[in-house]
């Protein structure tokens, strides 16, 4: 929006400047519309959903130990790979598919980030996370008891 408004402030200056500004304005608009369309397209065409979305750890659970289900959909065929950040051993690729489902048993104690990438793994096409939430633990120092049998 800023790129559009700035040339308009120069309208009354000179005809040559006006022409240049209009050209710039149109270029900006076309560029802007184009990028918006691309954003909409990428946002709407490829969808990745994870289950569960959240893993809650209680005081006695140091890790999430669960089956993660990743499902993606696209209106047209895609060639892509599903990877998990920090887990190079996990990779599942599809070639010319419009949907895919991958389930894996995982143990993790930090947010788990699942990505869809191009077959060369260079570009991230979609990304979602399983968020780890720890039950708020309040800790306090235990008393020392030198007289205690097992201390």
């Amino acid at each position: 929006m800023r790129a559009i408004h700035e040339p308009l402030r120069c309208v009354a200056v000179r005809p040559k400047v006006i022409r240049r500004a209009v050209t710039l304005l149109l270029a900006c608009c076309v560029s802007s519309v184009g990028s918006s369309a691309a954003a909409v397209e990428s946002g709407e065409t490829l969808r990745l959903e994870l289950q569960p979305r959240v893993c809650t750890l209680t005081a006695n659970e140091p890790y999430c130990d669960t089956t993660v289900r990743a499902q993606w959909k696209s209106p047209h065929d895609e060639s892509l790979c599903l990877v998990i950040v920090g887990r190079p051993d996990i990779r599942r690729c599809w070639e010319n598919f419009s949907a895919g489902l991958y389930q894996v048993e995982l143990t993790f104690n930090e947010d788990l980030i699942v990505e869809l990438r191009d077959p060369q793994l260079q570009r991230v096409l979609a990304s979602e996370a399983v968020t780890v939430i720890r039950e708020a633990l309040r800790l306090r120092r235990k008393r020392r008891q030198p007289w205690n049998i097992l201390y």
Partner: protein
């Protein structure tokens, strides 16, 4: 200067020395960040049991030593209230390096007279009580004399407790008074714990003392008309080792030696000058 006032003065001097040594220059230590043997989760009940072989010598004449086979451990720490086996208390101040509690703790000496004392609970052997003790005065070993020995009831002592940390060294000082109306004696407990090893398990040496007032010593070790002891000053040293095997299992062993003051050891009820406790086994965390 009487023996009582002299010992009281020594106890106070030691307490003051500990306070000056550690209290004036305590340095901030890391706070609790994860549950461990030193840090507990507030509001969570901890229950574990020690299984192994051990023995506590019994200095009381005619009493057998106390076997240590199964040792339950129970603790609960609330935000202020806590229960630690048979001790309970309230924390009135807590910082990274200093804790001030008001505690109630059972009188320790009864364990030597009554096997069914709760402090001996689950350490093995059939519970029995001693009401009359046969006494053999040391100067007349062959001539057995029987003296009536009064019952020693379960007592509780209460008072402030100060805990502090200084560069990994932990200290404890308890000033206690008997509150169950049995003898109204006093007890001061002081100790420091120094970690020697931390990588291959934890090896900790504890050293300290227990000062017992004359009223308390008389209640347990006095004999009416025969022996009227003064206060007692018992130092101790303890070497403990623990090594976790898994989340629930750990190895545990210790040796604890307590020297008994003459006020205790000279009692006709007592035949030994020290108490030695040894234990080796595993600890299983149930909760």
């Amino acid at each position: 200067m009487t023996a009582t006032s002299r010992s009281t003065g020594v106890a106070a001097a030691c307490a003051l020395a500990l306070a000056l040594l550690f209290g004036s220059s305590v340095r901030a230590q890391t706070t609790c960040k994860a549950p461990s043997s030193e840090c507990v989760v507030v509001g969570k009940l901890d229950l574990s049991v020690g299984l192994g072989l051990g023995d506590r010598s019994n200095p009381v004449r005619g009493e057998s030593s106390i076997p240590l086979v199964v040792i339950p451990q129970l603790s609960y720490y609330g935000r202020h209230f806590f229960l630690d086996n048979l001790e309970l208390g309230v924390t009135v101040h807590e910082s990274d390096t200093t804790t001030l509690n008001l505690i109630a703790t059972p009188g320790y000496d009864r364990v030597f007279f009554y096997r069914n004392d709760l402090q001996n609970f689950f350490v093995g052997g059939a519970p029995y009580a001693t009401g009359i003790a046969p006494l053999a005065p040391s100067d007349q070993p062959e001539q057995q004399q029987v003296f009536p020995v009064r019952r020693r009831h379960t007592t509780y002592l209460a008072g402030p407790e100060w805990l502090f940390d200084y560069e990994g060294i932990s200290g404890q000082l308890d000033a206690l008074r008997e509150v169950t109306g049995e003898h109204e004696g006093y007890e001061v407990r002081g100790a420091i714990a120094v970690p020697l090893l931390k990588n291959a398990g934890a090896l900790v040496v504890n050293t300290g003392f227990t000062w017992k007032s004359a009223a308390l010593v008389r209640y347990y070790y006095g004999v009416d008309g025969l022996y009227r002891p003064g206060d007692a000053w018992n130092p101790f040293v303890k070497l403990g080792y623990s090594r976790p095997w898994s989340e629930r299992w750990s190895l545990n062993a210790f040796v604890h030696y307590e020297y008994l003051d003459r006020a205790v050891a000279d009692s006709p009820l007592v035949s030994d000058h020290s108490v030695l406790t040894v234990f080796g086994g595993v600890v299983f965390k149930i909760l």
